[in-house]
C-alpha cells in the first residue's frame, strides 16, 4: 500500500499489491497468477550485477499491450493525459527555444553523466569521503530490501512513528512506503500530486505529474473523503478550484511538517567533488522536509552522481526547461552534510544499487543511466500519451521506462519482455532528451535481447502478437497512423523504422516516411503476402 492502511472493506481500497481501483483496472482475464515475472535470481560472478527483483505490486503484470488495451478504454485518463502532455510540450518548446546553446548543453549534460557513470566506483568513493567529512553518515544498499531495512532501522532507532517524504523515484522504486507501513511507521507523501495519489490509494502515472490521470472533481472527492482519516480534514465547503484544493493540501500537511522529526528524500544530483546533494522541486514541501526535521535520510540511486559542482551549471539549465517547461523550477535546495545550526543535524545518505550495476555492465544499455528523470520523453511520446503510465508496470513509465525496466529487472516477465516493443521508434524521445539518451536505439538493442532469450518464439511470432494488438481495434490503428505521421513530421525525410506495436518483425523492413501514404496503404503494399488479420 502506498500510505496509511485503509479501513478494511472500504470500497475502492485495493488490497496490497493490487493495481485495481485506479483508472487502469486490468480486466481479470489479463491477470496472471503463475508467478511469471520473477526474474532469474541474481547474476553470477560475471561482470553484470544482479537484477532488480520485480516488486509484488507489478508481479504478474500483463504485457504492455494488454495493459494498454485496458488503458485505451479509459477516456478520462486519455483526455487528461493528452491535455497534459500537449501543454507541457508547448511550454518546454518555448523555453528551450530561448537557449541558443541548447545542443551544446545537451552534449555537456551527456558527457557529465558519462564521466560519472564510466568511473562510478571512483566517484562514489569520493562522494562518500566528502559526505562523511561534512558530518553525514553514508549507507550502502545492494537492493530494495536492504535499502528499506536501513531506513526502517534509522527511523526506529529515533523512536519516530512517522516520516515526511519528498517525492522521490528511488523510494517509489524500492517501495519504501510499504516497508515503513509494515514496520508501523506512517510515511506521509508531501508533494501535492503524491498526496493525491496516496490518499486515492492509487499509483503514480507520470514521473513529473503523478496525478495527471485525476481531474479536479476527482481530487476534491478524494480530499473530502480521505484527509480526515489521516490528519486535518479538508474544509467541508471545499470546491474543485485548483487554488482551494492546494490550500486544503497546505493546511493538511502543515501540521505534519511542524511536528515531523524524520524526513526521507531522494536527490536529483549528488556531487562527488563536494558531497553536495541537490533536490529540485516546486511546492516548497521539499524545503520543509529538508529543513525542519532533526533527521534527514536521503535515498539515492548510485547513478545520481555528478563529478563536479560546476556540472550543476549545465544540469540546472537542462533539467527545469526539459521537465516543467520553466526557465527554473521554483525551489532548488542544496546541502552538504550537516550545516551547523541550520537544518537537520542528523544526516544520512543511502546509496542504492538495486539493479543499476547490472544496467551499467551493458556498454550500450548503460546510457539509460544518464537519465535525470525530467519526463520530457514521456510528454513527446505518442504511445505514452495513449496508453498512460500504468501500462508500463513500473514506477518508470514512458520511453525511459521501456528501456530502463527491462534492463533493471531483466526480461523474464511478460511486461518486461513487451516493453521494448512499447514504442514506435519515432525518435521524438531522443530529440527531447536533455542528456541525449538514444532511446530508439536502446529499444532496438533490447528487442534483440528479448528475441534471443525467447525460446521457441521467433521474432515474427512476437511481432505478430503485437500487430494483432494494433489491428484489433480501429482506435489503435488510428493511433498508430497518427503516431507515424507525427514521426514523419519530426524526422523529416528520414525513414521511420517502425510503427507502434509492430515490434521486431516490422523492424526488419523500412517504413517509408509518412504521410506519403497512409498506414493501411503502406501495409497493403508491403505485406500483401503476409498472414494478417486486419481486413
Amino acid at each position: 500500500m502506498t500510505g496509511p492502511q485503509p479501513a478494511p472493506g472500504r470500497p475502492g481500497a485495493p488490497p496490497t499489491g493490487d493495481v485495481g481501483g485506479g483508472p487502469t483496472a486490468y480486466p481479470d482475464g489479463a491477470r496472471r497468477a503463475d508467478g511469471l515475472g520473477e526474474p532469474a535470481a541474481g547474476g553470477g560472478p560475471d561482470s553484470s550485477g544482479p537484477l532488480q527483483r520485480t516488486s509484488e505490486t507489478f508481479l504478474g503484470m500483463p504485457s504492455f499491450q494488454t495493459a494498454a488495451r485496458a488503458a485505451l478504454a479509459n477516456t478520462q485518463q486519455r483526455r487528461n493525459l493528452a491535455h497534459a502532455t500537449a501543454t507541457i510540450r508547448a511550454k518546454r518548446a518555448a523555453v528551450v527555444a530561448e537557449v541558443d546553446a541548447w545542443e551544446e548543453l545537451r552534449v555537456a549534460g551527456a558527457e557529465a553523466k558519462d564521466e560519472a557513470l564510466h568511473h562510478l566506483p571512483d566517484y562514489l568513493e569520493q562522494l562518500e569521503d566528502n559526505l562523511t567529512a561534512r558530518g553525514a553518515t553514508v549507507h550502502w544498499a545492494r537492493d530494495a530490501e536492504e535499502a528499506n531495512a536501513i531506513v526502517v532501522g534509522l527511523v526506529r532507532d529515533r523512536d519516530a512513528e512517522e516520516v515526511v517524504k519528498v517525492k522521490s523515484m528511488a523510494t517509489q522504486e524500492i517501495e519504501l512506503n510499504e516497508a515503513l507501513e509494515a514496520a508501523g511507521i506512517h510515511a506521509w507523501e508531501t508533494d501535492l500530486a503524491e498526496l493525491i495519489v496516496q490518499l486515492g490509494h492509487d499509483r503514480p502515472s507520470h514521473i513529473l505529474v503523478p496525478a495527471i490521470h485525476r481531474n479536479r472533481a476527482e481530487i476534491r472527492e478524494i480530499f473530502l473523503r480521505e484527509m480526515g482519516d489521516v490528519g486535518r480534514p479538508a474544509p467541508a465547503d471545499l470546491s474543485d478550484e485548483p487554488a482551494r484544493l492546494a490550500e486544503a493540501a497546505r493546511l493538511h500537511l502543515r501540521e505534519k511538517f511542524m511536528r515531523a522529526r524524520v524526513a526521507v528524500s531522494g536527490a536529483n544530483f549528488a556531487i562527488a567533488e563536494t558531497g553536495t546533494l541537490v533536490v529540485v522541486e516546486s511546492e516548497g514541501n521539499g524545503r520543509m522536509c529538508l529543513t525542519l526535521p532533526e533527521t534527514l535520510i536521503s535515498v539515492v540511486g548510485v547513478e545520481k552522481v555528478l563529478p563536479t559542482f560546476a556540472d550543476l551549471g549545465t544540469m540546472l539549465q537542462l533539467l527545469p526547461r526539459s521537465s516543467t517547461g520553466e526557465r527554473m523550477n521554483p525551489y532548488t535546495s542544496m546541502w552538504t552534510g550537516v550545516h551547523d545550526g541550520d537544518g537537520p543535524q542528523d544526516v544520512h545518505v543511502v546509496l542504492v544499487d538495486n539493479g543499476r550495476s547490472h544496467v551499467l555492465s551493458d556498454p550500450v544499455g548503460r546510457d539509460a543511466l544518464r537519465c535525470i528523470r525530467c519526463s520530457a520523453c514521456l510528454n513527446v511520446c505518442p504511445v505514452y500519451e495513449r496508453a498512460g503510465g500504468h501500462a508500463y508496470g513500473s514506477v518508470y513509465p514512458g520511453p525511459i521506462g521501456a528501456v530502463l525496466n527491462p534492463q533493471l529487472r531483466g526480461t523474464a516477465s511478460d511486461v518486461d519482455k513487451s516493453l521494448p516493443y512499447a514504442s514506435s521508434l519515432c525518435g521524438a524521445c531522443f530529440e527531447a532528451c536533455p542528456v541525449r539518451i538514444d532511446i530508439p536505439s536502446l529499444l532496438v538493442h533490447l528487442r534483440t535481447q528479448v528475441v534471443d532469450e525467447a525460446s521457441g518464439r521467433s521474432p515474427e511470432a512476437l511481432g505478430m502478437k503485437a500487430a494483432a494488438w494494433t489491428f484489433g481495434d480501429h482506435r489503435r490503428l488510428e493511433a498508430a497512423q497518427r503516431a507515424a505521421t507525427l514521426g514523419g513530421r519530426l524526422l523529416g525525410d528520414r525513414t521511420v523504422r517502425n510503427v507502434p506495436g509492430l515490434g521486431a518483425w516490422a523492424q526488419a523492413r523500412d517504413v517509408p516516411t509518412p504521410p506519403r501514404e497512409t498506414f493501411r496503404q503502406w501495409w497493403r503494399r508491403t505485406h500483401r503476402d503476409e498472414d494478417r488479420e486486419d481486413t
Partner: protein
Amino acid sequence: MSGAREEILGRLRAATADVSTPLGARGEPPVIQAAAGSDHETLELFAENVADYRATVVRCDPGGVAGAVADALARRGARSVVVPDGLDASWVSGLGGEVRVVADDGLTPADLDGLDAVVTAARVGIATTGTIVLDHAADQGRRALTLVPDQHVCVVRADQVVHDVPAAVTLLDPTRPLTWISGPSATSDIELNRVEGVHGPRTLDVVVVT
C-alpha cells in the same frame, strides 16, 4: 553493511571494466553560457523574469530600501516580520509601530508559523532564469526563516545579479546550504493549472537596489 559497500563497488568496477578512458579525461566541465548584453540589459532581464513568476519586483536606490520593504509588507497586511541577525538594520527601520519586528533567537517552526513575513538579503541573482540564490549567511538567516512565514521580502543589490546559471554556480560556496528561489511556491499538479503558494511563501517581493 561494509559488505554491501564492497560488493556494490566491486560490481560497479566489474561493470565498467570495458571503459578505457582514464578518470577525468573529459577535462574541466565546459561552461556553456548564454550570450550576455550590457549590465543594464542583464538587470532588466532579471526583473522581467522574476516578475514573470508573478513575484513583485520593485527597484529603488540604497536610500529607498526601508520604504520599499515597508510598502511590500503593507501590501500584504503583514503584522509581524522576522529578521535574520545580520540584516542591515536600516532596512526595517521604516516600519511603523503596527509591524512587530522579531529577531531570530532560536524560534521553533511553530513560532515561525505564527509570523507573517521575513525580510532578507540574497547571495546572487540570475537574470536568464529570474532566480534568487540564498546561501543563508547572517544577512539571510537559516533556511527555516525564509520558508515558514507566508511572505518573503528579498533585497538584491544590482551588482549581485549575474547573467546566467553557470556564472551563479561559480560564485556559490558548496559548503554552505543553498536555496534557489524562482518565484513563489507553486504547483501545477491539478490539471496543470499553476497555483501559487503551496508550502513555501505564497508571496515573494524582490527589491532590487540600484
